[in-house]
Symmetry: C2
Subunit: 164 residues, 2 copies
Amino acid sequence: MTTDTAVLEGGLADRSAWSARDRCSISRAMQVVGTRSAMLLMREAFYGTRRFDDFASRVGITEAVAAKRLRELVEAGLLERRPYQEPGQRTRHEYLLTDMGRDLVPAALALMQWGDRYLSDDGGPLTLRHADCGGRIAVHVTCDRGHDVPLDQLAVEVNRPTRH
Amino acid sequence: MTTDTAVLEGGLADRSAWSARDRCSISRAMQVVGTRSAMLLMREAFYGTRRFDDFASRVGITEAVAAKRLRELVEAGLLERRPYQEPGQRTRHEYLLTDMGRDLVPAALALMQWGDRYLSDDGGPLTLRHADCGGRIAVHVTCDRGHDVPLDQLAVEVNRPTRH
DNA sequence: CCGTATCCTGATAGATACTG
DNA sequence: CAGTATCTATCAGGATACGG
């Protein structure tokens, strides 16, 4: 294990162990939700969209693209395709968030927060609040001892993969 | 203004105001860093990489792609291309994080955290710590009254654009 | 070192038309 | 409503070669 302190300041010394592209979790995450359509479909799922047509129209993509992405997201485990039946109707399918999909919310919110700040003239079209208390939502980087961690106090530890 | 409570539970009723794709901050953010190479170049910048060749080799992309993405990231305002000169050397350029680029860190960390959890067999190649106290880093969704907000307690408020 | 130029492949995604 | 099929344009990105 190697520990570097204040990465954003001094840089990361030992990179050999993880510069391998295929182990980087950001890289892997981007392979799954690294297209505009995939992330926006997840956004829709967060907002409660369940049906194919709604996904396509609300995201603003063609049915062909929606079908392909949804299939990939189901296969990757972010969504679950489940049959359901309304009384007197034929069987349909709905797309539901899995735990894996739900846990992507912080990443989506972090992107939204960043976009609201830097890519929008009026702070963005949505304000998120804590349903219980009405406080405004923000995404924070914290440590498990409860400190809010400024970006210049991030340290990186390299975990070498266990060999056999 | 319209407020919906517990979006992840009940769904979002009033979508007409923001379903316009071009105002969604997630969509805009994905236009800027929605490719694997762009996000990984930003990751490198977070880790202190400054030079063209290092960007290309550490991210594992060709120089052509690196050149194009870096140019776009500079143009979008996430990086700054600055000339510098070592004594006795000719002028070179380095790519430095701007505030806008630095503020993308939480989004990158959120993706990393998600990837560590769901796309890695061993928790991921890196552990991030708070340099001051050594505590493990995590990305949290909180409200400005200090509550940690569970994902099922997110409420959405739609801000209509001001007309004239 | 720091890129540019060219060529090529595959993925992303729009448009349109069609099926159960 | 929930897709599939086809056709097309644009973009992401690898390979290779070249220039300051």
